[in-house]
């Protein structure tokens, strides 16, 4: 009887523990959809379904693009080269999962909100940590399950049904496809999980955040770029993978160093291929499946104590402004920012752009998209790019494409408020002349974004061509960017990052043609004109003059057309449900 009591006590305690653990897993799982970059708190279900459907349909489309030839040429399957398509698809899944891991970067590990809310509660550290790990595993599993479901069927349909019509064979094939691709996705996610926990363990919380602030946007840019390549250039990028057939013949070392090949090896071996190369690669895959999650757990446990103590501390940073820096800032303010309101808005814009991860990430996606477009253009116009030293339209369009995406990105992100309830300070200190607020913002965009961009481009083109051509080219690009900035901010009536906004006001679904045509005119027509006149200083100066006049005309029209007493729009109002055609409104 006594021992029964003990058993009951232990059982009820472990049942309580398990309930607590399940609650934590659910909590952490939910937190994966609410972080610095991914914010699905409102309409969470709808947004998750939308994102997953997009990825699932896209991965199915990619599978179809890769494999449809097998439906038309059944003999192709017997050549035993389908592993190249499998490798390409696994590579895509790994990129996708890595991208998701970078988006979830700040919540892969326990964060300050978790600590401040959960530490005072009677929760065992073991429970806290294992629940976090389990929630990440559940997230990967469910995400993968939905994204890869259609592709699994397509892979079976195109590759397996020609070998055998047996249901058992089909199910086995689908299982093999599913498990190999899952191992690859698991590896890709936990490589970044390991990176996060290793950075925390090695450098501590403060340095981790400093490194993250730089590393995360770079990774986002890279992965968005990769995704754009998968979408826009799936055929030509697949051609690179066809080279793998020759690499296999020569038993190239590259195949051993390229992680998607490990999981392709596993795929082939599980499907019954006994090729020595695949056998060797499958061993790599097994280790790759096990080691990153283990390393994540191990480094996480090591860094845990350190993280927990660092998280509790108030960050203390003493920064003594060097006298020279102060002097230079004062000089800069006197020359470029004469009005104090301009200064306030200018530095506010700069600080938020520097420190807000959400805004930085959003802008990084625009930058990534622009880089992808540039690469697509350079690859597709390989003929004229062969000689780098000659001036050509493809290279001339680079600054315009970059500035277009960046300016559009800024136009979008300045609308997204940061702590909207803190904007009372702007309301309280508002002045009569609103022009200074908008001028401060435009100067901020120029000095924090456009100027550094064109300095880098000037150096790039100076190496590519010579500094004179580079200078005139960059000047043309800067003027064109300023013109675009005037157009984009013509109706802007807000203080950047400080006013509420209603998403979807850009009406992309209605006006996408207009945006596309604007982009084509801006990036390609202007670079074509520049190409024609770059050798003639007279025409070049005339073009500068025309752009300058257009900027001045826009400013003048703004002064005369818009109401004299502009109001800053702190609260964005929804558009009326019914739009009338009354001309007096």
């Amino acid at each position: 009887m006594h021992s029964m009591d003990i058993y009951e006590k232990i059982f009820s305690r472990s049942r309580g523990d398990f309930k607590q653990w399940l609650t934590l897993v659910r909590h952490f799982y939910r937190r994966l959809f609410i972080n610095d970059v991914v914010f699905f708190e409102e309409q969470m279900k709808e947004k998750i379904i939308a994102v997953i459907v997009i990825f699932a349909v896209f991965s199915a489309h990619l599978s179809h693009m890769l494999l449809w030839k097998y439906a038309w040429l059944p003999g192709l399957g017997s050549l035993g080269t389908s592993w190249v398509e499998k490798c390409y698809f696994i590579f895509f899944l790994m990129v996708l999962m890595s991208f998701i891991a970078v988006l979830e970067w700040d919540v892969i590990f326990l964060d300050s909100r978790d600590y401040s809310n959960l530490l005072p509660l009677p929760i065992k550290i073991r429970n806290l940590f294992s629940a976090k790990f389990a929630s990440v595993c559940v997230f990967i599993f469910l995400f993968y399950l939905v994204v890869n479901s259609l592709s699994t069927i397509l892979f079976w349909f195109y590759l397996a049904q020609w070998h055998s019509s047996s249901i058992f064979f089909g199910l086995r094939f689908m299982f093999v496809h599913w498990i190999s691709a899952f191992a690859a996705s698991f590896f890709a996610f936990f490589i970044f999980g390991f990176l996060v926990s290793a950075l925390i363990t090695l450098f501590g919380y403060k340095t981790f955040h400093q490194i993250s602030a730089f590393l995360r946007p770079v990774l986002i840019v890279f992965f968005v770029f990769m995704m754009v390549i998968f979408i826009a250039e799936s055929v030509s990028s697949f051609l690179l993978f066809s080279e793998f057939l020759q690499l296999k013949e020569s038993n190239s070392l590259f195949l051993y160093l390229f992680p998607p090949m490990w999981f392709t090896g596993l795929y082939e071996v599980l499907a019954g291929n006994r090729d020595p190369l695949f056998m060797a690669l499958s061993v790599f895959a097994v280790f790759a499946f096990i080691i990153p999650p283990l390393a994540f757990l191990l480094t996480g446990a090591l860094g845990y104590g350190r993280y927990i103590t660092k998280m509790q501390e108030v960050k203390k940073k003493t920064m003594h402004l060097v006298k020279l820096k102060k002097f230079l800032l004062r000089l800069f303010n006197r020359v470029f920012l004469r009005s104090r309101i301009q200064r306030a808005v200018f530095y506010f814009f700069g600080k938020i752009l520097k420190k807000s991860i959400l805004h930085k990430m959003r802008l990084a996606t625009y930058l990534a998209a622009s880089i992808a477009v540039i690469l697509v253009i350079l690859v597709s116009s390989a003929g004229i790019v062969q000689t780098l030293s000659t001036v050509n339209t493809a290279f001339l369009s680079i600054p315009l494409i970059l500035s277009f995406f960046l300016l559009v990105g800024i136009r979008v992100i300045v609308n997204i408020p940061i702590t909207v309830e803190a904007n009372w300070i702007f309301r309280l200190t508002e002045t009569k002349d609103k022009k200074d607020y908008f001028t401060g913002l435009k100067k901020g965009i120029f000095f924090f974004v456009l100027f550094p961009l064109f300095v880098l481009l000037f150096i790039f083109y100076s190496f590519l061509w010579n500094w004179q051509i580079s200078f005139f080219h960059c000047l043309y690009g800067i003027l064109a960017s300023l013109l675009l900035m005037e157009v984009l901010f013509y109706n802007y009536r807000k203080i950047p990052f400080a006013c509420s906004y209603l998403p979807g006001k850009g009406k992309l679904h209605y006006f996408w043609i207009l945006y596309l045509v604007s982009f084509l005119i801006y990036a390609f027509l202007l670079s074509f004109i520049e190409y024609k006149i770059l050798n003639s200083p007279l025409y070049l100066f005339i073009s500068y003059g025309i752009i300058f006049i257009l900027i001045a005309a826009l400013k003048a029209s703004k002064k005369s057309l818009l109401p004299k007493r502009l109001e800053i729009m702190y609260e964005e109002m929804p558009e009326p449900a019914m739009v009338t055609l009354t001309p007096y409104e």
């Binding site: 108030v314 104090r340 306030a344 530095y347 600080k351 702590t419 309301r427 309280l428 002045t431």
Partner: protein, 256 residues
Amino acid sequence: MLELKGITKKFLVFPAVNNVSFEVKPSEILGYLGPNGAGKTTTIKILAGLLKPTEGSILFSGKDIKKNMYGYKKRIGYVPEESEIYPYLSAYDYLQMVGRLRNIPEQILEEKIEQFMSFFSLSEDMHSSISSYSKGMIQKVLLSSALLHNPDILLLDEPLSGLDVETSLIIKDLIKKLSREGKIIFYCSHILEVVEKICSRVIIIHKGKIVANDSVENLRNLMKLPSLEEIFNQLVIHEDSEKIAEGVVQAMKHHS
């Protein structure tokens, strides 16, 4: 003098503040008391020009503030109740931004920020992000931002919230000193003891309406009650606090 005449603020059809009228003279510290949801913050936001009243007007030096809102806003300093502040900026960045928005010359602003930060023992942390500050530190930054431009009217909504004992004492003395300098001080709080000590006059608001408006001394005599707490209980609290406490204890014991 700051005068409120028949101020009403309705959210949809519900009045948060209902026909409120009072005045505050220079050198006067007016305590504005009331339970949660009584309309204190709505009143102070109307006074700061952040909310427009549905009815009524506010006069400053005899002139309707609507006629020169910019001029009026230049003369007020406001400390909000909640920590409504940009967490991505440091205290230095925030005060510099506020100073610039208030059009304070750079050199003077720089000196003022350093002095304020030093008085409030924030010199070491003034370049760290506000997101890493405690509630008290944020309150110090908000107080500094309200005082930077030497305002004539100070609107303080729970200014001692989260402050340590030492800083609270400094702020209380500071408020008294500012009133002697001729400033109009509107002090909104839950802490009755502080209001009793520093305010020359008290307004008690309940469900959007003023239920008392007099000096603490007069209220005590009038109601024949020994303290402001007793007066407040008499006027505003109609629930049996002991009964509620008993209920809470019973709920605690349930299942344990």
